[in-house]
């Protein structure tokens, strides 16, 4: 029992160290977060222009526009999550520390969750203003859907970024690998959001939320199991 506790403590310490390191280097470099947020808001504005002045059309399209803005901006963030290690040659020392390698993935996942979570908050607020969406009555459930969608998006994004990090063409490879795998998560998140903000009351949010939970569990488990194999040369 003590051994289990001690191992758990070791894992948590490594996870925390990785997340702290990623967030600290990101905060100090600044450029990354500013670029990601700017891209997210620019995509929302461009959707607004493309849809025209029809207020109802804007409201209907808001969930889709929001999730696509987070997806495209998120790809920039995922690529950056291994950029620091690749630029400085720090990936090898990271892999040489003894201990479970999945903790590296979990630490990066945690840092990316906070990063994308902040992005999501900014994009949602900007989207509500730009697309004239009122705060829905079921706002706690909307927040839960946003969190579940973010977990699926960030888990797969962080995983495929680690896979692409070994390739010279990683900027191109990451969206090619990631986008097809994200279709179910994005579809479920968009449909659940749409139902909850009342754009289409006929839709049933509950089934989509269950689907999101199922995908999140599968992706979180599968990526943790596969990480050690994809990160090795």
């Amino acid at each position: 029992m003590t051994r289990v506790r001690s191992q758990g403590g070791d894992h948590w310490r490594r996870i925390r160290a990785i997340a702290w390191k990623d967030l600290t280097t990101e905060r100090r470099s600044k450029a990354g977060f500013n670029a990601v947020v700017s891209l997210g808001i620019t995509i929302l504005v461009l959707f607004g222009f493309a849809l025209g002045p029809d207020a109802q059309a804007l409201r209907d399209a808001a969930p889709g526009a929001l999730w696509l803005a987070v997806l495209f901006a998120g790809v920039l963030a995922f690529n950056r999550s291994y950029q620091v290690e690749l630029d400085t040659g720090a990936l090898e020392p990271l892999l040489l520390y003894p201990g479970a390698r999945w903790t590296i993935f979990t630490g990066k996942l945690l840092a990316n969750m906070l990063f994308v979570g902040l992005l999501l908050v900014i994009v949602v607020v900007a989207g509500m203003v730009l697309f004239a969406v009122k705060v829905p009555d079921a706002w706690p459930t909307v927040i839960a859907v946003l969190a579940l969608g973010a977990i699926g998006l960030v888990t797969l994004g962080t995983f495929y970024a680690s896979m692409a990090s070994r390739s010279r063409a990683r900027e191109v490879l990451l969206p090619l690998l990631l986008f097809p795998m994200l279709v179910p998560v994005l579809l479920a998140a968009m449909q659940a959001s749409k139902a909850l903000i009342g754009a289409d009351m006929m839709l049933e949010a509950g089934a989509w939320i269950k689907m999101l939970i199922a995908y999140d569990i599968i992706f979180v488990l599968a990526t943790h199991l596969a990480f050690e194999h994809v990160i090795e040369a």
Binding site: R14, R16, I18, T25, T88, G89, P93, L96, P98, A233
Partner: protein
């Protein structure tokens, strides 16, 4: 950390080979390093010295053959190998936007050690005056010293160093040699990739030369050593190899 019995080799490689695509970099290298030994690894550019070191460090898997560190197989028991080795690569692998101290704190957290030794280590690698400065502003030599400090945190028994003297000044070279000597004296071992022997003078117990992906025969090894020692003219003139 596991300490196997002392009658095992610190480093043992049996016919280890590695291929990148269709090209064989190493074609079957066998190498034995006993505890307490410091061995220099010589050879021309691209002969596979760094590849050998990276396989011993568990960063690359061998295409064929096997290797072990203190009896722990580098493939089957990689995590135990990582607990016993300290690997210093060409690039220091530090985080530019963290300070010198923060880099070592991060390493300590990853290793599972405390932070109490960090200030003493920074002092030892002579970076006390810049401990709170970001690594981005450090010279290549300073980064090398900090990477050495990080390696000392691991308390590794087997040191695998890839051209450790690059960018180091005289004090840095002395520091590097003292760390290698201490490891050997404490029952550890070191395998050091070298392009010139002068900085490691008096440190090495023997050298091994890699040529065409294999350990070269002793005559070739002596020739390589003589060349590195600057005796190539004498060798060419007399046809004899004299290595001190």
């Amino acid at each position: 950390m596991t300490h196997p019995t002392e009658d095992v080799f610190a480093i043992e490689a049996q016919g280890i080979a590695r291929r990148f695509g269709a090209r064989w970099i190493l074609r079957g290298v066998s190498l034995h390093v006993r505890p307490g030994e410091v061995v220099g690894l010589l050879g021309s550019n691209g002969c596979g010295k760094s590849t050998l070191l990276r396989m011993l460090a568990t960063l690359l898997k061998p295409t064929a053959g096997s290797a072990a560190i203190y009896g722990h197989d580098v493939v089957k028991n990689a995590d135990e190998v990582r607990r016993n080795i300290g690997f210093l690569a060409h690039t220091p692998g530090l985080y530019d936007d963290l300070s010198a101290r923060e880099n070592l704190e991060f390493a300590a957290e990853m290793i599972g050690g405390g932070h109490e030794d960090i200030d003493a280590l920074i002092e030892r690698v002579n970076l006390s005056h810049v401990r709170h400065e970001r690594v981005r502003g450090f010279s290549a030599g300073m980064q090398r010293r900090l990477a050495l400090g990080r390696l000392m945190l691991t308390k590794a028994r087997v040191l695998l160093f890839d051209e450790p003297y690059s960018n180091l000044d005289t004090d840095g070279i002395r520091l590097m040699n003292s760390i290698i000597s201490e490891a050997a004296r404490d029952g550890g071992a070191a395998l050091v990739v070298l392009h010139e022997l002068a900085p490691a003078a008096g440190l090495l117990d023997r050298t091994v030369t890699i040529r065409d992906g294999r350990v070269a025969d002793p005559t070739a090894a002596l020739l390589a050593e003589a060349e590195l020692a600057g005796a190539v003219g004498a060798v060419g003139a007399t046809g004899a190899v004299v290595v001190a």
